[in-house]
């Protein structure tokens, strides 16, 4: 693996974690009685940037390296299901994350105070952010399984 690809793999993981961390902060803020709209906007924006950059770095790594020797090593190794199930699932469900985050950010940037003051809307946004965070956790754990299966 070249230095560039290793850097991209590191960036993919760290940026994804930053995105999930931002969603977690968003969930915590939405549970407050009077959340700060500035904080909600900032954390949703961090989530969008984190997931998009993680998508780009992970996508480049996948196309340039994973699809060749890594995929072949996993398929020939003791856990071929790590690619067949976890990578296949990850590469599809992960795609939801940037778009869910963009939708959340749009809600906070354009909905502003109206959303913060409305319990029903806040609950809906909490549910959407929770689904995104769960997808993020699933993607992260899948990444650990996939990386562990490269033998």
């Amino acid at each position: 693996m070249t230095q560039t690809l290793a850097t991209l793999l590191i960036a993919h993981v760290i940026l994804g974690l930053i995105g999930i961390g931002a969603l977690w902060a968003l969930l915590m803020a939405l549970l407050k009685k009077m959340p700060s709209i500035r904080f909600l906007r900032a954390s949703s924006l961090v989530a969008v940037i984190g997931f998009i950059l993680s998508w780009i770095s992970g996508g480049y790594y996948y196309v340039m390296y994973y699809g060749g020797p890594v995929k072949a090593a996993i398929k020939a190794g003791p856990n071929p299901w790590a690619h067949a199930f976890f990578m296949e699932a990850k590469e599809h469900v992960f795609l939801l994350l940037p778009f869910i985050s963009i939708a959340l950010a749009c809600a906070f940037f354009f909905g502003g105070e109206r959303i913060v003051g409305d319990d029903k809307k806040r609950r809906i946004l909490f549910a959407i952010a929770l689904i995104a965070a769960l997808i993020g956790v699933f993607s992260t754990l899948s990444g650990v399984i996939i990386s562990g299966s490269v033998r």
Binding site: L9, L17, W24, L27, L31, L141, V144, S147, S149
Partner: protein, 169 residues
């Protein structure tokens, strides 16, 4: 300083902040609840302590994943299937979910405290105790069972302390 040492240092700082923060959060909470109310000064102390715990958690998670990347890049991928690692990941996930459930007031204070306390100490002790777990051939579920027992014991001890201090529930 090589990457391994750097990550160990960050991981230890994160664990120290988290475990220390969780311990002092519980002490401050018990002290503040003795009169049944948390006054603004006590509230500000608790707020700062929870912030320290969150910083510790962020350092712990980022350095933890740093280790996973390092294993992948240095050909030690088999370590990513270690039951200790998965037990630690599970405990951290329980801790993160517990904080959200506690913030949403879906779990009582005593149970939230027990989970936070036991999870922080459990996550910190897993790695130093790895040789013990290895000797007894402990698998993932054995470690999680030990963790659940630790949560129950912590809940009982905290309940006892609250009763002894006559803290209202």
């Amino acid at each position: 300083m090589d990457w391994d040492t750097f990550l160990v240092v960050i991981h230890l700082i994160g664990a120290a902040l988290g475990v220390g923060g969780a311990t002092f959060a519980e002490i401050f909470l018990l002290k503040s609840l003795r009169d049944g109310v948390v006054d603004p000064t006590e509230g500000s102390f608790l707020k700062i302590t929870y912030r320290v715990i969150r910083i510790g958690l962020a350092l712990l998670v980022l350095s933890g994943f740093g280790f996973l990347i390092l294993y992948r890049l240095t050909g030690l991928e088999e370590r990513l299937f270690s039951p200790l690692l998965w037990a630690k990941l599970t405990i951290v996930l329980i801790l993160l979910s517990g904080v959200i459930a506690w913030q949403a007031k879906k779990v009582p204070l005593w149970l939230g405290s027990a989970f936070s306390f036991a999870s922080w100490y459990g996550a910190m002790l897993i790695i130093p105790l790895r040789s013990v777990f290895k000797n007894i051939h402990a698998g993932f579920f054995d470690i999680i069972l030990i963790y659940i027992a630790l949560v129950i014991i912590t809940a009982i001890v905290l309940f006892g302390i609250r009763r002894a201090l006559k803290i209202p529930h």
